[in-house]
C-alpha cells in the first residue's frame, strides 16, 4: 500500500484525495462479507429471482453497506485517530475531509435504498434503510461509546444483509431468513471480543467500553464461550426444519465443534501472552467459520438441486 505512505506529506487541502481513499471509506473488506452473505440469502430464498434484478439487489445491498461504513468513519474520526488499527483511515490520516465522507455516505444510502426499491421491492428497500440507520445511528452514534454490550446489539446491523437478500426475492421475512440473521448475530460477539482481548489497549486508549476493559478478561472469556455454545446450537437448527440438508449439517457440526474447542482453550488460558495468542487464533478462525457455514448452505442447495434434476 505504497500510496498510503507518500500521501502523508500531501494533506487534503482543497480536495487532494485519491479515488482509493474514497473506496477505503466504504470499508471494502466488510463489503465483501456483506455481498457474500446477501448473495447466499438471495439464492436460498424460495421462488428464485431474475438474475439481473438479483445482481442489482446485491449491488444495492453492497453500496448500502459501504454508505454506512462512510457514515461510521465520518462520525468516528476522533476515536479512529487514537487506535493503531484505524489511525490510517482516510479521515484521521488527513486525506479526506469529514464533510466529504458524510456527503458520500448520505448520497450512497439514498441511491442504494431507492434503487433496491425500484429493482426488487419496497419491503427489501425499507429493510436496507433500517440496516443503514441501525449501523450508523444506533450502533455508531449511540451504543458503541456507551455500553460494553455495543457489539452484541450492533452486530444486528451486520446480520441483516442475508435477510435483505432474502426479502429482495420473497418480499418478506420468514423463519429461514431469521435463522440466517441469528447465525451472524450470535457469531459477532465471540468474533469481536476475541479481537478485543488482544487489542484491548487500543480500545481503552480510545475510551470505547469494550467488554474486556469494563468487565475484565475472565468474564469476557466466559461470555465468548457462552455465545459460541448458543451459536453452534442455532447453526444446527436448520437440520431439523428442513432448511439444511446432510452436507450443511455435517459442515456446521464439524466447524462448530472446532469453534467450541478454540473457545474452551481461550477460556482456560491463565497468563496474558497465552490469552492473546488464543484470542488471535479464535478471531482468525471465526472468520473462516462464518464463511464455511454460508458456503455449506450454498453447497447443500446445489446438491439438492442436482439430486432433483438427475
Amino acid at each position: 500500500m505504497a500510496y498510503l505512505d507518500d500521501s502523508r506529506d500531501f494533506p487534503a487541502y482543497a480536495g487532494g484525495a485519491r479515488v482509493e481513499d474514497y473506496v477505503q471509506l466504504l470499508k471494502p473488506r466488510v463489503m465483501s462479507l456483506v455481498v457474500f452473505t446477501a448473495f447466499v440469502g438471495l439464492l436460498l430464498a424460495p421462488g428464485g429471482v431474475n438474475p439481473v434484478i438479483g445482481l442489482i439487489s446485491i449491488l444495492c445491498i453492497a453500496v448500502g453497506a459501504g454508505a454506512s461504513g462512510a457514515l461510521n468513519m465520518w462520525y468516528d474520526s476522533d476515536i479512529d485517530r487514537v487506535m493503531s488499527r484505524t489511525a490510517n483511515r482516510p479521515i484521521p490520516a488527513g486525506r479526506i475531509e469529514r464533510d466529504h465522507a458524510l456527503a458520500l455516505g448520505l448520497v450512497l444510502s439514498a441511491f442504494s435504498v431507492l434503487l433496491l426499491g425500484l429493482a426488487a421491492n419496497w419491503f427489501a428497500a425499507g429493510l436496507l434503510a433500517f440496516t443503514i440507520f441501525f449501523y450508523a445511528v444506533i450502533y455508531t452514534m449511540w451504543l458503541k461509546r456507551s455500553t460494553p454490550q455495543n457489539i452484541v446489539i450492533g452486530g444486528a446491523a451486520g446480520a441483516f444483509p442475508p435477510m435483505v437478500g432474502w426479502a429482495a426475492v420473497t418480499g418478506g421475512i420468514s423463519l429461514e431468513s431469521c435463522l440466517l440473521f441469528l447465525i451472524i448475530f450470535l457469531w459477532t460477539p465471540p468474533h469481536f471480543w476475541a479481537l478485543a482481548l488482544y487489542k484491548q489497549s487500543d480500545y481503552g486508549a480510545a475510551g470505547i467500553p469494550m467488554l474486556p476493559n469494563v468487565a475484565g478478561e475472565a468474564h469476557t472469556k466466559l461470555q465468548i464461550l457462552v455465545y459460541t455454545l448458543v451459536l453452534v446450537a442455532i447453526t444446527l437448527v436448520p437440520a431439523f426444519i428442513g432448511f439444511g440438508g446432510w452436507l450443511y449439517t455435517a459442515v456446521a457440526a464439524a466447524t462448530g465443534f472446532w469453534f467450541i474447542v478454540l473457545s474452551v482453550r481461550l477460556f482456560r488460558t491463565r497468563e496474558d501472552k497465552a490469552m492473546r495468542k488464543a484470542g488471535r487464533t479464535l478471531f482468525t478462525y471465526s472468520l473462516s467459520y462464518l464463511a464455511l457455514i454460508f458456503v455449506a448452505f450454498l453447497a447443500d442447495r446445489a446438491v439438492t438441486l442436482l439430486g432433483i434434476s438427475s
Binding site: D9, F10, P11, Y13, A14, G15, G16, A17, R18, V19, Y22, N50, V52, I53, I56, L59, F111, L115, L118, A119
Partner: protein
C-alpha cells in the same frame, strides 16, 4: 498544512482528473443499470405500443 508547490499542483490535477473519471464511470454505470432494469421489468412490451 503545507503550501502548494508546482509538483504538488501537478499531483493535485492528476488526482482531480482521476476523481472526475471515477465519478463519470459511476454515473454511466447508474444510467446503464436503470436502462437494463427498465427493459427487464417491462420486458419486450416496452416496444409494443401503437405509434
Amino acid at each position: 498544512m503545507s503550501l502548494p508547490t508546482p509538483q504538488r499542483d501537478e499531483e493535485f490535477f492528476k488526482r482531480r482528473r482521476r476523481r472526475s473519471i471515477a465519478l463519470a464511470l459511476v454515473l454511466v454505470g447508474l444510467v446503464v443499470i436503470l436502462y437494463v432494469l427498465t427493459i427487464v421489468k417491462m420486458g419486450p412490451a416496452v416496444f409494443d405500443r401503437a405509434i
